[in-house]
């Protein structure tokens, strides 16, 4: 029985690139407060799904509803204003600015003051809030350093921190642990899940690593050939033979 007021709902969401159907009539309901993992082999349509939801791509057909509001065809900045934020597989940061300035800009945007052109960016309340955000993500030691000096794991966390600073209702993370070393993977995820649980933000994350998905997500969507072939709690869904075949190539 689908949740009556889902935070995200897609109806027959379809997108093709030439002959390739990257999203084939996808229907999903995501309930508030969930931590949802998306899995699938390369090219199964996971990132396309994220790009469609966040307005980076326009669907050929179908609808997207965020908290009941139509967001189909809206550009990223309008989708963001509906309460959705995203992080990227390759961190999208302002490399020429300091770590703190990156966060301050997100806070300015969240406050609707991004086009303020007289009062300074470095101002009391944002500095305090920015420091709290960086502390939560374990990045406070880098606050005044240029982004270029951050290690890869730190960049990933900062990318997510920028989305988080927008105080979204729904957070989408594209492979939060890709590019992070095996030893650091669980540490990064522990930090993230800890922050997310404190803020009760609904989160969807795309992930390749089955261990990560199994350990952290409350439910899983399995993508294959642009379709959702299974969804439900990770322990049961990831045990389905067709899921293991589609995702891991195992019989």
């Amino acid at each position: 029985m689908p949740e009556p007021n889902p935070i995200l709902q897609t109806i027959d969401l379809t997108k093709s690139f030439g002959m390739v159907k990257a999203a084939a009539a996808i229907n999903v309901h995501i309930a508030r407060g969930e931590l949802v993992g998306i899995v699938g082999a390369n090219g199964s349509g996971k990132t396309t799904f994220l790009n469609l939801i966040t307005g980076y791509l326009k669907p050929d057909r179908g609808r997207i509803l965020i908290m009941g509001q139509e967001s189909t065809g809206l550009p990223p900045r309008r989708v963001t204003k509906l309460g959705l934020a995203r992080s990227f597989q390759i961190p999208q940061l302002y490399i020429g600015l300091s770590v703190l300035e990156n966060v301050l800009l997100a806070l300015a945007a969240q406050a609707g003051k991004s086009t303020a052109c007289w009062r300074p960016l470095y101002r009391g309340q944002w500095l305090e809030h920015g420091t709290v955000v960086l502390e939560r993500f374990g990045l406070q030691a880098y606050a005044r350093r240029p982004v270029a000096e951050l290690p890869e794991g730190g960049r990933k966390l900062l990318d997510i921190a920028l989305s988080f600073a927008l105080q979204p209702q729904l957070l989408l993370m594209d492979e939060p642990t890709s590019g992070v070393s095996i030893e650091d993977k669980f540490q990064v995820m522990d930090t993230l899940v800890n922050v997310l649980q404190q803020s009760a933000v609904t989160t969807i994350f795309v992930e390749h690593d089955m261990d990560v998905v199994q350990r952290y997500s409350q439910s899983v969507l399995v993508f294959n050939d642009g379709q959702v072939i299974a969804d439900g709690p990770p322990a049961s869904v990831l045990a389905y033979p067709e899921v293991r075949k589609a995702v891991l190539g195992q019989e």
Binding site: P75, P76, Q92, L93, I95, S114
Partner: protein, 323 residues
């Protein structure tokens, strides 16, 4: 530069500029005045360079500002500096507000060349509509009055210089505030990552547009101040070579900070004057060589050179103290 460095540099530079008329000969005062006027336009170009955009057409706003003074005198007999200066800034901003509507959609080479194209349209208009603009003869700009008073003959240059100094001072502060504001940082962020800006809920076009309007005002102000000191304006104010000069000066001084364009503008005017005097047939080559050296040896421009010298000096001073 550190806060202490700024708190020393700003008063010293201000005193130097205020005292200049009593120390330097009249011809140097003319160069300083012209440099202050051009500094404002270079500042406008430098704003975009910070955002990773280059404009080869900002002479457009320089000409708008200069012809504001020319037309006001020709048609309405207005020569009041306190009226003409804000009017030129306003016209510059208004023209930028219209052109910016489509300019904000473009990046890279298209932004650069579209600016150039629009400035050349204005150049052609100024050239062809002789009855209106004076064509190649240009327009004479009368000595401006200040609060209705015509300055005594000996004090004309001095008055005009101080008007330029005050306007340049105010606009330096305005740009400083702008660069320290969220919008100023978004402009810098533009060079790094447009995707992140859009995913913050901000519009990249809005950032460019707002900057464009400010840059138009700066260009207009630079134009009217130049018109005051030269006393005669011609269509070349809008010509693409003039636009190129502004980009050149921004690179020469350094566009990463507010003082860079000021140092660049002053250095450029002096280099041009001396190169013209001592190598009249090779002054452009002299400028070219200097530009080449700057790009190869100090890409941050003259201001970055000064900053690294100060840093080296203070490190050495610290070393002496510790010893």
């Amino acid at each position: 530069m550190t806060a202490r460095g700024w708190s020393l540099t700003v008063p010293i530079v201000t005193v130097l500029f205020v005292a200049a008329p009593f120390v330097v000969p009249s011809w140097i005062l003319f160069i300083l005045h012209l440099a202050l006027a051009k500094f404002l336009v270079v500042l406008a170009v430098a704003l975009f360079l910070r955002g990773g955009l280059v404009s080869f057409g900002h002479a457009l706003f320089y000409a708008v500002g200069a012809y504001t003074a020319g037309f006001a005198a020709k048609w309405f007999g207005v020569r009041e500096a306190l009226l003409l200066v804000p009017l030129a800034g306003l016209f510059g901003a208004a023209v930028a507000a219209v052109i910016g509507l489509f300019m904000a959609r473009y990046r890279g080479v298209f932004f650069a060349m579209l600016n150039l194209a629009v400035s050349m349209i204005l150049y052609a208009i100024l050239l062809k509509f002789y009855w209106l603009t004076g064509g190649t003869d240009g327009l004479r700009v009368q000595t401006p009055t200040l609060l209705g008073f015509v300055p005594p003959r000996d004090l004309i240059r001095l008055t005009s210089y101080y008007v330029a100094l005050v306007v340049a001072g105010i606009m330096t502060y305005v740009v400083y505030r702008f660069l320290a504001s969220p919008l100023g940082y978004y402009l810098k962020a533009l060079a790094d990552n447009e995707i992140r800006i859009e995913y913050s809920g901000e519009s990249v076009q809005r950032v460019i547009y707002a900057t464009y309007v400010l840059s138009g005002a700066l260009g207009g102000l630079g134009g009217v101040l130049a018109a005051f000191t030269v006393g005669h304006i011609v269509p070349e104010y809008a010509f693409w070579i003039q636009s190129g000069e502004f980009v050149f000066v921004a690179l020469l001084g350094g566009y990463g900070s507010v003082p860079g364009p000021l140092i660049g503008a002053i250095a450029f005017e002096f280099i041009r004057t001396y190169a013209n005097k001592y190598a009249p047939y090779a002054w452009q080559m002299t400028l070219g060589i200097i530009m080449l050296l700057i790009i190869l040896l100090q890409p941050g421009g003259l201001w970055a050179m000064y900053e690294s010298m100060v840093a080296r000096f203070s490190r050495r001073a610290e070393g002496v103290e510790r010893a």
